[in-house]
């Protein structure tokens, strides 16, 4: 008897998970803080810094992508609210979020393609190196985020106790909103200043 009682799954409560997510997001923050600090040092030393790409297309894609990610945060929020009452509506909104995440990634690839064709590559100069570093690393985290969203979507089909479902929604939501805010910082750092 004893062994079985002892080895049953440890129930992780929502607060514990949330703290874990906060520490994990803290790690990602430190990663990007280092990237941003490196960027600013390289930029100050380089002197003549210019925005990546010329013309209307790159900045349009970047602005569009900012809107896409902000919208996806909103749709995720909607989905999280409906997950407590209407599962099919939650699924619908989550599907939209997932779609927006994929749209963002595709648009980033198009942006890269446009810039590479215009001769702006990671090797062309330090501006290019920094640009592809920041967008690439953020993109990789978005890939992970989309994976997490897909996981939530799949788990919505299963009968999940309410506590576990709201916990999952909360943790993945924190990641997704975090990546959204991170993109806004990136957008300002790369395309505005």
């Amino acid at each position: 008897m004893t062994t079985q009682i002892l080895s049953k799954k440890i129930k992780v409560d929502e607060f514990t998970s949330t703290l874990g997510t906060i520490v994990a997001l803290g790690c990602i923050t430190m990663l990007f803080v280092t990237f941003f600090v490196s960027y600013s040092i390289l930029r100050i030393q380089f002197g003549m810094w210019s925005r990546p790409g010329t013309g209307l297309i790159p900045i349009t894609i970047a602005i569009g992508n900012t809107i896409v990610l902000l919208a996806s945060s909103y749709t995720y929020h909607k989905s999280a609210i409906y997950s407590k009452t209407h599962i099919d509506l939650a699924k619908k909104w989550l599907g939209v979020t997932l779609g927006l995440g994929i749209v963002f990634l595709l648009a980033q690839l198009i942006l890269w393609d446009v810039l590479v064709n215009a001769g702006f590559t990671p090797k062309s100069n330090i501006i290019g190196s920094v640009f592809y570093l920041l967008t690439g690393m953020h993109g990789l985290h978005i890939v992970a985020g989309v994976g997490a969203l897909a996981l939530v979507y799949l788990k919505l089909n299963k009968s999940y106790s309410d506590g576990e479902r709201s916990n999952l929604f909360k943790q993945v939501g924190m990641l997704w909103h975090f990546l959204d805010v991170l993109w806004v910082c990136l957008f300002v750092a790369i395309f505005i200043i």
């Binding site: 703290l19 430190m30 280092t34």
Partner: protein, 571 residues
């Protein structure tokens, strides 16, 4: 009565979620790499004592260096000291103290059923295995493994003008993976300590071991991402042709900065020193108390002093870079902050002495190793003051003095701390006792050669011996000291042979050792209240904590000289 929870071999021993099994897995990994890295050290020593003479057969000279007739050529020598440093720091002492004992001890000592996130814990270990495979895989490349030094400063580690081949690239990748594993471990440890302490286990009732490991995890979570960022930049330089760390004549485009890597490396690198030593400090603080049969002197002060050191360690990275031409004002600030660390360090050091003072000391093997940590860390700490002082460091920078210093602090202190931990927790891990006579023998034949080796390295360094030269006999001013190099090598070999006693004792005791009782040391912390074998889930009923972790020789306890943390003292 006990209805066994059936688990297959795979889920029980390989992909286990039990923190105790994962701890042992890390222990095996760490012990393998300690021996691997130690063997490399002997080869380095051979070259320094007998430059360009064939390595003897008993150091596997004719197998390892068959194409050069047993002689270590300069490229292989570079690879040797690079991989010795990398492996010892990231693959040996990190898994030993943080991976093995962090996993095994934290939940048991705070009264938790397991880590907060057992799956993450398992993934952390297997990420480390993946990192090990990538690292060891680099040996099989035609160009050989990494050779840019354990710090891998650009341009040494740059694709142009540095180390050619994929070995250095794999090194960078392996280190990133090992860092990921550390981060996952850190998240787990931090949350476990914050959330899973048993009722009554306040922060100031936690054993100092847990304090040390917890502070280590916090530093890990903050600073491993920093080096990960630096390594990602380096990886991009090496694979897709960016030039973040390349400048001057080597660069084809402007804007790179090799010094940026040094800053990023040491912003992580200096906290890393404390990441490695803090668990050892915690373990030593606890063990001194157990084997002096006295409460730890100034328990709260020790905990706070360790926290202070952990905080200060974030602000001192520049003392590794005095010779890079940084602004004198900045240099002096770093010097001041570095010297400031000696205050909290001295506080807990005197607390250790206070613990020993008038104790009834039992010289069991764990105690011998714990006390030796005081000695080696004392020397390591005091010689650190020379390195921290700009005027002395300009001369001592990159000499064997630095090598001696950091081997005293990181290698000797952390390794002896690990040995203390292994001898101490072995009965709980494997339910058998280690042979105490062999333990004491192992201690003495390790302790004496170790001091000879590392102290004389500092003497060599003071004589101007650079830390990474291939053949010291090429330099006239080093020729008179060649005899010292030879002696160091023979003592290093003695130190290496001494570890065979440990290996024998470890394996023999694990298989055939005397059965251990639940609490062989009469220790007060929670793990010793559990009878072996400890089931997955640890505690049948969640313990309630009444006492501090060091209740020894309490006059209110009549029949014995200790009382467990979960037993109320009846007055």
């Amino acid at each position: 009565m006990s209805e066994h929870h059936e688990q297959s071999f795979w889920s029980k021993y390989i992909f286990s979620l039990d923190h105790k099994v994962i701890g042992k897995q890390f222990l095996w990994l760490g012990l393998f790499f300690v021996l691997f890295g130690g063997f490399q050290a002997l080869l380095i020593r051979w070259q320094l004592a007998y430059p360009e003479q064939p390595v003897p057969w008993w150091l596997l000279g004719d197998i390892l260096f068959s194409d050069t007739g047993g002689i270590i050529d300069p490229d292989k020598y570079n690879a040797l000291f690079t991989m010795h440093g990398t492996i010892m720091i990231f693959w040996a002492i990190t898994p030993l103290l943080i991976g093995a004992f962090g996993n095994f001890v934290i939940p048991l000592q705070i009264g938790a059923p397991d880590m907060a996130f057992p799956k993450l814990n398992m993934i952390s270990f297997w990420t480390m295995v993946l990192a090990s495979i990538v690292l060891l895989g680099s040996y099989f490349l035609p160009e050989g493994t990494a050779a840019g030094g354990w710090t891998s400063y650009p341009p040494l580690s740059s694709p142009v003008g540095g180390i050619a081949g994929e070995g250095q690239t794999l090194w960078t990748l392996a280190l990133t993976l090992a860092g990921t594993s550390s981060m996952m471990g850190a998240i787990n440890y931090i949350i476990t300590v914050v959330r899973l302490r048993a009722p009554g286990m306040t922060y100031f009732k936690m054993p100092l071991t847990v304090w040390g490991l917890w502070l280590t995890s916090i530093l890990n979570a903050i600073f491993v991402p920093v080096i990960a960022a630096g390594l990602i930049l380096l990886l991009m330089d090496r694979t897709i042709g960016t030039q973040f760390f390349i400048s001057g004549g080597l660069a084809t485009v402007d804007g790179g900065d090799p010094l940026l890597y040094q800053h990023v490396f040491w912003i992580f690198g200096h906290p890393e020193v404390y990441i490695l030593i803090l668990p050892a400090w915690g373990i030593v603080s606890d063990l001194l108390s157990v084997f002096s049969r006295k409460p730890a002197f100034g328990y709260k002060v020790t905990a706070i002093a360790m926290t202070t050191v952990a905080s200060l360690s974030m602000l001192v990275w520049g003392h590794h870079m005095y010779t890079t031409g940084m602004s004198p004002l900045l240099g002096k600030s770093f010097m001041f902050l570095t010297l400031l660390i000696s205050i909290p360090s001295a506080m807990f050091f005197f607390n250790w002495l206070g613990t020993l003072w008038k104790g009834s000391i039992k010289f069991d093997p764990p105690m011998l190793f714990a006390m030796s940590v005081m000695w080696v860390f004392g020397i390591g700490g005091l010689t650190g003051l020379y390195n921290a002082t700009i005027t002395a460091d300009i001369y001592l920078h990159d000499t064997m003095f630095v090598v001696g210093h950091f081997h005293y602090t990181m290698a000797a202190s952390v390794l002896f701390g690990s040995f203390a931990a292994i001898y101490f927790w072995f009965p709980k891990m494997f339910d058998r006792k280690m042979n105490p006579f062999l333990g004491k023998l192992h201690f003495w034949v390790s302790f004496i050669p170790l001091n000879y080796v590392f102290f004389n390295m500092m003497v060599l360094g003071y004589g101007g011996h650079h830390r990474r030269i291939y053949d010291p006999s090429n330099y006239d001013f080093l020729k008179p000291m060649m005899w010292l190099n030879e002696y160091i090598t023979w003592f290093a070999i003695a130190l290496g042979l001494a570890q065979l006693i440990f290996v024998y004792n470890f394996i023999h005791s694990m298989l055939k050792g005397e059965k251990a009782e639940a609490n062989p040391w009469g220790a007060a912390t929670l793990e010793w209240t559990l009878e072996a074998p400890i089931p997955h889930g640890n505690f049948e009923t969640v313990p309630t904590i009444y006492n501090g972790p060091h209740e020894y020789s309490n006059p209110k306890v009549k029949d014995r000289d200790w009382i467990s943390q979960s037993e109320p003292i009846s007055s």
